[in-house]
């Protein structure tokens, strides 16, 4: 779903490419044995290697490499059996070595792709240029003391995957869908926890504006976007800024910009002229990385079902709508929960209950599926009570609310509250007779052609039965009696 901007002089189209930095799930850092745990005391997880001590040498953590291979396969990329670690040289206090070990000319993965789905159900393939592995820098803290800056090296040396898309994205919505989809895939394969708040996933966005179909314009890079919402806002702001410049006859300066969340603006960080010359060269402390085909095969064999495959299976085998399938597969935990609920039950019923009831209450409570007070088994039991007509769908909603609140089982709530629905035809007929006897005027109006009153009778009957009458049976018997 491309979105365009209507300027004073005509239509402008977005051209967006994203660089996503995803922290690799691994117990230890990319080149040292130090822990990667988040939220520890500053500088408590720093080896002499991460601190750039003299004479210290990096050794590749193969767990991180296997994670990168897994991710490469998940984005349908080519895993390169020969790749090279380079040094990217620049000075900064939170970069203790004076260089970042990254991959420049020969990344571990090239040429991948990812399919995004838009809300209107359309799909689009987004090209991925490359995935390379690199080490993270530490963190500079400027707000601890008026006269000094502090450096926390806990993050220094943590393994990252930089995943670079092609400039295939045409709107902030597409960019958002791309990041969400990538995050979903990373979480499926377990190579990044996707936690943007903790910084384990960060986005740099390259954006330029052009007349539809024309050549690319000059781009700006917006650094370090740490939420999908901020990214969208930053892209929208930046697009308008560039269009204003272009429409005034100016030229956009190629530069790196930062998004000021408070002001909702991007502002210049450094111009092209001030850009670093990183003086990349192969790190002589590390041999080129050679991967055995067996390792790649083993990783491929350990690959879980990915969201796209799962989505198609849910549609094909379970008859779910594209939208429902997308919603359910976005998070692996949700999909697993759904499959447990749906096992041996009505697939669509299960999907509806997950999406409208369970997700609704979870959202309201601000909880993840993992924290749900209602387990998959418990929800399944509730659905069984609906399917065997023990309770109506409507009653089920009440029961579910209580399950969510108290953690009690559906059956127990039904028994305690006497919610078992009435399916005895005689009992239902008696209630209907009573209602019809009371509402003779309305019966006459109905019989004289006011069909719409049927709903009124259903309501009255349900009310009189205390909500327990089986609605389907009420409908049938009522119809027969009124029409009779």
């Amino acid at each position: 779903m491309a979105s365009t901007i209507e300027g004073a002089t005509g239509t402008w189209e977005y051209v967006i490419g994203l660089e996503v930095h995803a922290q690799i799930v691994s117990k230890s850092k990319l080149f040292s044995g130090a822990s990667t745990e988040f939220g520890s005391e500053p500088n408590s997880q720093v080896s002499t290697i991460d601190a750039g001590m003299p004479g210290m040498l990096p050794v590749i953590n193969m767990t991180c490499i296997e994670q990168a291979v897994k991710t490469g396969l998940a984005i349908e990329g080519t895993v390169n059996r020969y790749s090279v670690f380079d040094r990217k040289n620049y000075f900064y206090p939170d970069l203790p070595q004076g260089y970042q070990i990254s991959q420049f000319k020969q990344p571990i993965v090239s040429e991948g792709r990812l399919v995004i789905e838009m809300e209107d159900g359309s799909e689009k393939v987004i090209g991925i240029e490359r995935l390379h592995v690199e080490q993270d820098a530490g963190k500079s803290l400027h707000d601890q003391d008026p006269g000094h800056s502090y450096v926390d090296l806990n993050r220094s040396g943590v393994g990252l995957m930089e995943i670079v898309s092609k400039p295939d994205l045409r709107s902030p919505e597409e960019a958002a869908a791309y990041v969400r989809k990538l995050r979903s895939i990373l979480r499926y394969v377990g190579t990044c926890d996707g936690n943007m708040q903790e910084g384990s996933m960060r986005v740099d966005a390259n954006v330029s504006m052009r007349r539809p179909g024309e050549a690319y314009g000059t781009r700006c890079e917006i650094k370090n976007l740490n939420s999908v919402r901020f990214m969208s806002r930053a892209l929208e702001y930046e697009a308008l800024r560039q269009v204003d410049i272009l429409e005034a006859g100016g030229t956009v300066a190629q530069e790196t910009r930062l998004f000021d969340v408070g002001r909702g603006e991007t502002r210049s960080m450094r111009s092209k002229e001030e850009a670093h010359d990183y003086r990349y060269f192969p790190d002589p402390d590390l041999l080129p990385l050679r991967l055995e085909q067996e390792l790649i095969n083993a990783v491929a064999a350990s690959m879980p079902e990915l969201p796209d495959a799962k989505r198609h299976r849910f549609m094909a085998e379970f008859g779910l709508s594209p939208y429902d399938a997308s919603v359910l597969v976005a998070e692996k935990e949700n999909a697993d929960f759904y499959e447990a609920v749906a096992e041996g039950r009505d697939k669509k019923l299960a999907a509806n209950w997950m999406i409208s009831e369970l997700f609704g209450l979870l959202n309201k409570a601000g909880k993840e599926i993992g924290e749900s007070p209602v387990s998959a088994d418990a929800l399944g039991e509730l659905l069984d009570l609906i399917s065997d007509d023990t309770i109506s769908g409507r009653t089920a909603k009440e029961v579910f609310a209580e399950m969510f609140e108290t953690g009690k089982a559906a059956g127990q709530i039904v028994e305690e509250k006497g919610l078992r629905q009435v399916t005895d035809t005689g009992a239902i007929e008696a209630v209907i007779d009573e209602v019809m006897a009371r509402e003779t005027q309305k019966v006459a109006e109905y019989r004289s052609g006011k069909d719409k009153l049927f709903g009124f009778f259903v309501g009255q009957v349900m009310k009189a039965s205390g909500g327990k009458a089986n609605p389907k049976m009420v409908n049938e018997v009522l119809k027969k009696k009124l029409d009779g």
Binding site: P54, N89, P284
Partner: protein, 489 residues
């Protein structure tokens, strides 16, 4: 006999027989260090540690333990090796006050083999130099003097302090590192033996890096046998260094005396030039004759890309150095010159902390890696490097070792160094190709110059064939009958 005059092998045997204690050996060395401070061989002396280590060694021996290769042997450590808790300077102002919290793999290996540390030896700053004149701690002085000339001579560099300590009887052996000749050139200048093993033979972990793809540690001793003993103690695969080779370390001493009979030894014609000093040429021919007399077949070989080695080296080594030395920024350890903002702090710290020679190499290295110059310089130099390695590979298809001079001249006076940096760099002309190819090379003292200063011959071997290099070196040592003692020491 003064215990400081023993070789490692002799001391080892006396210690084993109980005719000498490590304590006696160490005390004699501590005395010698005190009386020879004018050599400025050590930056840091560690006598208390040496005595404690000697005491431990003697105690181990008394318990019937202590069968390490260097049990009780006092050695000096080039101040480029990080030693836990002991000041480590790399000869630079910028590492002021730096006490590592870790021990380099090579020194740890040696301590495990029972060696005793006497102190940390002087060196050219960050191992960049061939004279020891670039040390922040003042130059080390060569114990040798020219006949009738009392001017101080340089001990060579960068491992000049180690060479001076070994030649001056201030240690039985010393560690060196060699990036372009930093073990072999000072060994040649001081009449000592120095071997740079195959790249990957000794772990680089914990050695302050100069040029990572070229740096290699090795021993400096007063005999080839001692070099064999010490190298075995230093070497070995280390999982902490990705470039360390997983190759077994043989007993280099085992075949030392088997001679060169039946060996084919190459004389590379490209190492001969019009400019070569007559006495160097004569020494080389003498060496060749000695080997021939002992049954080796001497053949002329060609290493056609030799002339490109020095220029290639002076691109690759500074490039790596410019990056390796980025970590000395005043932020984490060592020198910091305070300033109003970050950039000024960096600039002032690095301006004050590095000497002219180090700055020159950082500038060269930064330049050759810059956008737009990388392909023309760095990439080209790497291609040259490949050619040079191929030259050697081809030659080793039909020779067992190669014989060349170690240096183009004898030690020069400290107050009259080569006039410009390039002239100084020419000191490494015979040694640099060996580093570029990653091969083992050794300098063995073979005679005296006309002025009475030591001269060395270089033996180059196949990768991981240090055993042959040592054997050939032993044959030259035997034939030369060189007296390693400088006058007055």
């Amino acid at each position: 006999m003064n215990p400081t005059d023993l070789t490692i092998a002799q001391a080892r045997d006396l210690l084993a027989k109980g005719e000498l204690s490590s304590m006696e050996l160490v005390e004699a060395h501590i005395d010698a260090m005190e009386t020879s401070r004018e050599l400025n061989a050590y930056i840091t002396e560690t006598p208390e540690m040496a005595l404690a280590m000697a005491q431990d060694s003697d105690a181990r021996r008394a318990r019937g333990e202590g069968n390490g290769l260097l049990e009780g042997i006092p050695v000096a450590i080039k101040d480029l090796f990080c030693t836990k808790g002991t000041l480590t300077t790399a000869g630079s102002h910028i590492l002021d006050g730096f006490h590592p919290v870790y021990e380099s793999t090579v020194t740890a290996n040696m301590w495990r083999q029972g060696a005793v540390m006497l102190g940390k030896t002087n060196l050219d700053e960050f191992a960049m130099g061939s004279s020891n004149l670039t040390s922040y701690h003042g130059p080390a002085i060569n114990p040798w003097k020219a006949r009738g000339d009392h001017r101080a001579r340089v001990p060579g560099g960068s491992s000049g302090g180690s060479a001076a300590a070994v030649a001056g009887r201030l240690a039985l052996g010393a560690t060196g590192t060699d990036t372009g000749g930093s073990i072999r050139q000072p060994a040649a200048f001081t009449g000592t033996v120095g071997i740079k093993p195959t790249y990957g033979r000794c772990s680089r972990w914990g050695i302050v890096a100069f040029a990572s793809s070229l740096d290699q540690a090795g021993p400096m001793t007063r005999s080839v046998r001692d070099a064999a003993i010490m190298l075995r103690a230093m070497a070995g695969h280390d999982g902490k260094d990705s470039t360390s080779a997983d190759v077994a370390v043989p007993d280099f001493e085992a075949d030392l005396d088997k001679g060169v009979k039946g060996m084919t030894i190459g004389i590379p014609k490209e190492y001969r030039s019009e400019a070569m000093a007559g006495e160097i040429e004569a020494l080389w021919q003498q060496g060749s004759a000695w080997l021939e007399e002992q049954g080796a077949r001497m053949v002329e070989i060609s290493l056609p890309h030799t002339k490109y080695a020095l220029p290639a080296y002076y691109i690759v080594a500074p490039a790596e150095a410019s990056s390796n030395l980025s970590r000395y920024d005043g932020v984490k350890y060592g020198l910091r010159v305070e300033a109003d903002d970050l950039l000024s702090m960096y600039e002032k710290t690095r301006a004050a902390g590095f000497s002219k020679e180090v700055k020159r190499r950082i500038l060269i290295g930064t330049y050759v890696l810059s956008a737009g110059y990388y392909d023309a310089y760095y990439l080209k130099a790497q291609k040259v490097r490949t050619r040079i390695a191929e030259d050697f590979r081809d030659a080793f298809g039909h020779v067992d070792a190669i014989l060349t001079p170690a240096t183009p001249s004898a030690a020069f006076p400290a107050d009259e160094p080569p006039s410009d940096p390039v002239a100084m760099y020419l000191n490494d002309i015979f040694t640099v190709p060996v580093n570029l190819a990653g091969l083992p090379g050794m300098s063995v003292p073979a005679g005296l110059s006309g002025e009475g200063l030591p001269l060395g011959l270089q033996i180059i071997g196949k990768a991981f064939d240090e055993a042959t290099v040592l054997r050939v070196g032993r044959a030259i040592e035997h034939a030369a009958g060189f007296d390693t003692r400088p006058e007055g020491f």
